[in-house]
């Protein structure tokens, strides 16, 4: 408790600056965390509104609302904004807020760099979104931007897209360096590695993944830049280049990227399930090893995205086996969560609802992932709506529900108020139903043969597309409710105790709610 007394005495001297400079110049991890979260939510709404355009066009067969050129821009921008603008910054925001509080550190290790890595993001996205208004339109080659569609055949705005990706990459790498430096150097005395909370563990591993693969992404977009503007032929077959090389390099980044978007959620969910089961997390050590195993395996499975490009049989078999292997550590995590709930004393506040939905729906996404890993079957699934269903099942109830669960779990700590539980439960049920209605029928569409990324489709796909669109609209609209709940909670509400959840564990609950501007100026003792 000494930490709390200290922060109180310092608060008067080191409060936040006044006005806009507080936000522009801040080096405070809580301010930066809040900015990351707000930015990410804004991007979530923007990327979501693009998804609404997509689903509106696909509501019925025929072209009604947009032309194919614009449709392709929407699918591309939706993917890019959701991955790089919504999910990744949300987790960095959570990391900023919670890592110092969880390990008993006063702030992130590199606070000025922290400020810079945040403010790069709005710049990057300003550039990316401005391409929508350029001649020839925004990038239209899918978020995977396969060459040569994105090089020789790309719109003029591609160069701006490349620059935006570079800036995002710089931001992510700096964020990751900061996370690693903080976790490895600033833990409270007594907090050994195997005593770290799981959110800290998963973020540490995620940060290493980021540092390993973001430069690879930078490399591949730089090669594109050279092909487009400087006459090289990395990916141009007519100049001796290799379009498949693009895919190898892209997915060497792309697959670990998938885990970058889910591992922090694994960590947060582990805290939430344990807290609302009022029981310690089952198998802490095996959870840590499982995350490590997943991260390592994620580097040797990239070509499962490329089963149809004609890689040799031996390569095909290797990537099939390696991919199937990932099911083992992922399974271990699910079994541990379920066993944590088993014989607990469960209650179902909003964070727990989102966490339970996370486990069930992420597991369903895992199942379809296992099916996709079977290379011969993948020849039928590949690039159909089955894949779209699969990755939305791991990203929406996975990453996004993980973020919602974390937000509700820690909102009392951030704001000092309890959020409106009834509204939050409504938000959950609307999201849950909407999300399943939107994405479950996509499995059927894919199996019936509907390719992805098409603006119009054959008549036999009409019914499920309509259902899916209705679900998507429902999911989309209910996110405005979340905005309302958060604003309401910031402005007022029932006062939150330092530890508002009776089953919660961890240093973050030892400081008052709302967490003072400076916390843990003297480190707490961990036994």
């Amino acid at each position: 408790m000494s930490a709390v007394a200290d922060t109180h005495s310092q608060e008067h001297h080191h409060g936040p600056a006044k006005g806009i400079s507080r936000w522009l110049l801040t080096t405070n991890h809580k301010d930066i965390g809040s900015m990351y979260l707000m930015f990410s939510f804004a991007m979530f709404l923007l990327g979501g509104s693009m998804a609404m355009v997509i689903r509106a066009e696909l509501f019925q067969p025929g072209l009604q609302i947009v032309q194919p050129e614009f449709f392709n821009q929407m699918t591309t921008m939706h993917g890019l904004i959701m991955v790089f603008g919504a999910v990744m910054p949300a987790f960095v925001g959570l990391a900023n807020w919670m890592l110092p509080l969880m390990i008993g550190a006063p702030d992130m290790a590199l606070p000025r760099m922290n400020n810079w890595s945040f403010w790069l993001l709005p710049c990057a996205f300003l550039i990316l979104v401005s391409t929508l208004f350029m001649q020839g339109g925004a990038p239209n080659f899918g978020w995977t931007f396969y060459a040569p569609l994105s090089t020789t055949y790309g719109p003029p705005s591609t160069t701006f897209f490349i620059f935006a990706v570079h800036i995002m990459g710089v931001s992510s790498i700096m964020g990751a360096i900061n996370v690693i430096a903080t976790i490895l150097n600033m833990r409270a005395p007594g907090m050994t590695l195997m005593k770290m909370p799981l959110f800290v563990w998963t973020w540490l591993i995620t940060a290493f993944l980021l540092i390993a693969v973001m430069p690879v992404l930078a490399g591949v977009v730089t090669m594109m830049l050279m092909d487009i503007n400087f006459g090289t032929s990395f990916f141009d077959a007519s100049g001796g280049g290799d379009p498949v090389l693009f895919q190898h390099v892209f997915w060497f980044f792309g697959h670990p990227e998938v885990y970058i978007m889910i591992l922090p959620a694994f960590g947060a969910i582990s805290h939430i399930v344990a807290a609302f089961s009022r029981k310690p997390l089952f198998g802490y050590a095996s959870m840590v090893y499982a995350v490590g195993a997943i991260a390592l395996l994620s580097f040797v499975v990239w070509a499962h995205h490329m089963f149809t490009v004609g890689i040799p049989l031996a390569g095909q078999l290797f990537f099939m086996y390696a991919t199937m292997l990932i099911a083992v550590p992922t399974g271990v995590k699910v079994f541990n969560w379920v066993t944590t709930m088993f014989r607990g004393s469960l209650s179902f506040e909003a964070p727990m609802l989102f966490a339970v939905a996370f486990i069930i729906l992420f597991t369903i996404g895992g199942f379809s992932g296992l099916m996709l890993a079977i290379a011969p079957a993948d020849f039928q699934y590949h690039d159909t709506y089955f894949v779209v269903a699969h990755f939305h099942y791991v990203l929406v109830p996975g990453a996004i529900f993980g973020i919602f669960a974390s937000a509700y779990f820690w909102l009392p700590k951030w704001t000092g108020h309890m959020y409106d539980e009834t509204l939050a439960k409504t938000h959950f049920w609307l999201s849950f139903i909407g999300m399943n209605l939107a994405f479950f029928p996509m499995h059927f569409l894919g199996l019936a043969g509907m390719p992805r990324r098409i603006p119009d489709y054959a008549l036999q796909f009409a019914d499920f597309n309509m259902v899916s669109s209705i679900g998507a609209f429902m999911f989309g609209v209910s996110q405005l409710l979340f905005l309302f709940i958060v604003v309401k909670c910031v402005r007022g509400g029932e006062k939150a105790a330092a530890k508002p959840w009776d089953g919660a564990e961890g240093l973050e609950w030892t400081v008052p709610s709302p967490a003072p501007y400076h916390t843990f100026s003297t480190p707490p003792e961990v036994k």
């Binding site: 029981k279 011969p376 039928q380 098409i454 019914d463």
Partner: protein, 374 residues
């Protein structure tokens, strides 16, 4: 065809009214009509049932906890949080299941990769946005483009039964023979997929991919391009007609003869009107997707041809860009895609349509000479 919507209902949707379609709630993969597709189907069902079984156990335990171990019902939490034996068990058991699954998958894959001893070889080339089929040993080939009218896509007309899954010239293959496909692409990456064959392979510029099929049931099988290839990715279907061997042989003879006739047309003396009439058709299939039917294009990627400096300027420059394309842009080289007659017709058409009234005309012979002097 089990997967197809019912025509009657599609027609009933009526003019201008958006198509309200048919209860076709197909939920699962279909077994298809080839050995490969049946093997894939059985792998798919096996892994699906394994997932269902695991799901029942895991979610069963979870729902049991959710109902029985609620705080509101006075459940007191236990305090266990570790058990090495359990951890090892639930690592080893899934691993064993995966090994069991990998064995049949490997066998199927090995068979899918065996493209030897084929009886018919067909080269499939992806273009933005149609397919070219070349019968390698038979000396003929042709393009296969979407035949669904624009009016159906723009909702001005009721959608037909095979909306977006119909082409002008389907690929024809004989039943009961091992057909090998050699896939490549001319511009961007495409992917050639016929679900009922269990065949999907990317067509990549600069690469030749191989795959094969053997269809035993005559019929018409439909698929689509499955790799995003630009604007009209959703509008380049694959249609394959599998016919009995005699019928196939007769068809091949017919095609060879037609190809020969086409070559002779080059020598014929053409009038401006004849070329314009032919040019309009060729333009609609080869050029209109980008440059639009009215020549207005979609700048900057696809420049307008109406009043364009090339279509109203120097003839040789115009022939050059159509025959050789323009590198670094989406303008392809049509020299090998279209016959001399069609090239001459298209160029003549572009120079005289939409108010470009240059009065110029280029004959197939001139195109032939132009190509040969290069």
């Amino acid at each position: 065809m089990r997967v197809h919507a019912k025509r009657a209902v599609a027609l009933a949707a009526g003019l201008l009214s958006p198509a309200v379609v048919v209860a076709d709630w197909t939920m699962n993969m279909t077994p298809g009509v080839t050995g490969t597709s049946n093997q894939i189907f059985s792998l798919h069902m096996t892994i699906l049932w394994i997932c269902v079984a695991i799901g029942v156990v895991v979610f069963g335990v979870m729902f049991w906890s959710i109902f029985a171990h609620r705080k509101s019902q006075g459940a007191k939490p236990a305090n266990f949080h570790e058990n090495t034996v359990v951890e090892i068990l639930w690592t080893i058991i899934p691993f064993a299941i995966l090994v069991a699954m990998a064995i049949p998958a490997t066998a199927t894959l090995v068979e899918m990769y065996d493209t030897t001893e084929s009886e018919v070889d067909i080269k499939v080339t992806g273009y933005q946005w149609r397919w070219q089929y070349e019968y390698i040993n038979e000396d003929f080939g042709y393009f296969s483009s979407l035949s669904t009218p624009r009016d159906q896509i723009e909702n001005r007309q009721a959608k037909g039964e095979n909306y977006l899954l119909e082409v002008d010239n389907p690929l024809v293959i004989p039943v009961g023979k091992k057909v090998r496909f050699l896939l490549t692409a001319n511009d961007v990456i495409h992917s050639w997929w016929v679900p009922e064959f269990g065949v999907k392979k990317d067509a990549i510029p600069g690469f030749i991919n191989e795959t094969w099929t053997r269809v035993d049931e005559p019929g018409i099988y439909r698929g689509q391009c499955t790799e995003l290839c630009g604007k009209d990715h959703g509008f380049m279907p694959v249609v394959v007609e599998a016919v009995p061997e005699e019928e196939y042989n007769a068809w091949v003879a017919e095609q060879r003869e037609a190809a020969e006739k086409e070559r002779q047309l080059t020598q014929k003396d053409w009038t401006l009107e004849e070329l314009m009439a032919r040019g309009e058709k060729a333009y609609a299939t080869a050029c209109a997707a980008c440059h639009q039917a009215d020549g207005s294009g979609a700048p900057p990627a696809f420049p307008a041809l109406k009043d364009s400096p090339i279509a109203t300027g120097d003839m040789t420059a115009h022939i050059d860009i159509v025959v050789n394309g323009k590198s670094g842009t989406a303008m392809q080289a049509f020299g090998n895609q279209l016959s001399e007659v069609d090239l001459a017709a298209v160029i003549t058409y572009e120079r005289n349509a939409w108010g470009n009234n240059t009065g110029d005309m280029v004959t197939p012979k001139e195109i032939f000479d132009y190509k040969n002097q290069q």
